[in-house]
Symmetry: C2
Subunit: 403 residues, 2 copies
């Protein structure tokens, strides 16, 4: 007998038929002899609807009352799912965040879990009940309700799995797993049967948003085995687990990220402290800089080029002109017509030819590389946005030749 | 400085403009230097909508999950009202039933309040916050959410006022107070400035449903001064308080109750135990019998006539035929075309002419009295339903002559 934590997002519980389907999945797992904890998010658009109500009344409402309001959403979904399980005749109890023992710090709307008091959960499991837990929420030391922020239900599920030493934490989504590339774009994309935590994290930072990063980090820290799978199509998903437990693949996937702007600052004086001046101003504005390229010109000047999330281009502009008040407009260039294409794989650490294989594939496809960035298990290139899909197919064909 | 508890029902907080109006009332009370606790129900149709969702999934859901579900309604309304008060710039905190210290027994959907732990409430009041409390809900000893049943928010408000020794508990409704008769029906109806708990209870049992009876009983028990008033029209309402603190009026009001069926059982044997046989069967079925009339016939038989709530006529029929299996259909008569018209007033205890004045008014109006029932502070008559409004006007004109 195993303990399985299953997490279903808002789309999976959006209406009565969806809830009935989820109840069927849970019932199947339970009837196989497992203990089951189910974590659910608020139904469909409930959270957005509640926030719209709040903003109509007072757009500057406090974050404490915000959390009081939106946490009602999971309260509705857990009780409805419990009722659906009661209909099947299964023993079940729904628990709010505080009833399930989630204590957090007091950062309303973005709280961090401090501890899970397992007593009640363990008692309910001991009496063979399916426990349906409200994701995304907890209470702080004042007994006030807090929420965990974006993707919080994934974090709730992983935290429960870690605290109770669950055998597996299944995250049900609208895809059947993690693919070598976006299957809607790349014909030969295949589903991975497994992937390491680090690869998953790198893929997410490269635009393949399947799992919330915070939950993957927590799973890695507490060694919780995750499975990403679909609540619609019933087939095995992708297991996310420790690297030591699986065979290294050269590369695990190819991903594209369009949320990039490339910023070039030209003809800066070639003197010490220039880069520090620029990047400290960017850091102060919390602009997340990704790839950086610095080239020394022949006339005693240098150019600095870097990428930022596309929505931060104005903040970046402010930072640049604060750092260099004398900069002229023709020496400042923003290009939002770019994409970052990345390959991720733990195997490349020990396989020096990976980068050149990627660059060759791009050269053969006639695609110009604007910038390059690498980590131990990732290589990213910046290309023209119009070339991105062609770049992904070319790279994917090279690393995953069709049989 | 006084402590005022204000209760607003679901209609009063049904949308953003309504919530803003309620916030204005609360702000006015607070700015006059009072401590204010506000109790609110769920918005408009929220509770009904949630129950409809539940019934779509599983009409036979447990009462525990029912309470988990519907209590989300007040969670939404308290946080929205708190946000509206934040907008005005007032210090405010919303509290769920359990945060406000409401502990109840475990009768889900119809729980009774056992105790209010005042610590948090008192702390919030001490820091000069307006406290917005979710009505209708509490927790039991298992830390599970319970609800108090119909009219539960009135009960929550009165219980808070009692526990914290509030100076007044204001119940905001859609009427401006308690009237001598239904003002939509009787031209000369006037609003009462005050009324005793007992008179209020009798009026309610006579069909004038302004306040939930359980909350009036609790107010009487703990001597909480109530005020019934309108959240739309800002004028003083009707004070409900101890009899000793006010002048006795001969009669306080005239009320009509159409929820009555008159049942006659004819030609029963005139032997001992007949009435017991009948009424024990009715009691077993929890049928609430109001007026009873027994007449001895000349042929060694007797007739028993009694009234029951109209919806219970089938249950009453079952009870009668179980008690008297040999009864023939022509000796069993149900009349649902009747109304009960009542006058209520603590003054009639010491004023023997009250009943005859009522009967004279009905005689002058040509109305036939079918049955009569009296208590210390109430006289009720059963009349043909078509005569009820005329009866009320005639009685009202007699006791409240227009100036």
């Amino acid at each position: 007998m195993a303990l399985i934590v299953q997490k279903f997002g808002g789309t999976s519980v959006k209406d009565a038929p969806s809830i009935a389907r989820v109840a069927g999945i849970v019932a199947e797992t339970y009837s196989e002899g497992n203990d089951v904890i189910v974590v659910v998010s608020a139904q469909g658009d409930t959270t957005d609807d509640l926030i719209a109500k709040a903003n109509e009344i007072n757009p500057n409402h406090s974050r404490r009352e915000h959390d009081m309001l939106v946490s009602a959403g999971e309260q509705i979904s857990i009780s409805l799912l419990a009722m659906a399980l009661e209909k099947i005749g299964l023993p079940v109890v729904s628990l709010l965040g505080w009833q399930a023992g989630f204590t957090t710090n007091s950062s309303y709307t973005a709280a961090r879990i401090k501890k899970i008091n397992k007593e009640r959960l363990q008692n309910e499991l001991d009496s063979h009940k399916i426990v349906v837990v409200a994701g995304f929420q907890g209470i702080n030391k004042y007994d006030d309700i807090t929420t965990l922020g974006r993707g919080g239900s994934d974090t709730s599920a992983v935290a429960l799995a870690a605290a109770l030493h669950a055998d597996r934490c299944q995250i049900f989504t609208d895809v059947t797993g993690v693919f070598t590339a976006d299957p809607r774009k790349v014909k030969g994309a295949v589903k991975l049967s497994e992937i390491t935590y680090d690869e998953m994290l790198e893929l997410a930072s490269c635009g393949a948003q399947v799992l919330n990063n915070r939950s993957v980090e927590m799973a890695k820290k507490y060694n919780v085995e995750l499975e990403v799978l679909s609540s619609i199509e019933r087939e095995p998903g992708t297991i996310v687990k420790e690297a030591t437990k699986m065979e290294k693949m050269l590369i695990r996937g190819v991903a594209k990220d369009n949320d990039v702007a490339r910023i070039s600052v030209l003809r800066l004086p070639d003197s010490p402290g220039i880069a520090f001046k620029l990047f400290s101003k960017l850091a102060y504005r919390k602009v997340n800089v990704d790839i950086i390229l610095q080239s020394v010109g022949r006339d005693g000047t240098k150019d600095i080029t870097f990428t930022v999330p596309r929505g931060d281009d104005q903040l970046a502009r402010d930072a640049v002109f604060e750092a260099f008040p004398d900069l002229t407009e023709d020496n400042f260039i923003v290009d939002t017509n770019v994409s970052k294409v990345s390959i991720v794989g733990a195997g490349m650490e020990t396989h020096p030819g990976t980068a050149s294989q990627m660059f060759e594939a791009l050269f053969d496809a006639g695609i110009n590389i604007q910038m390059i960035s690498t980590s131990e298990i990732k290589i990213s290139v910046l290309v023209d946005q119009g070339d991105a899909d062609k770049a992904i197919s070319a790279i994917h064909d090279s690393f995953f030749p069709e049989d």
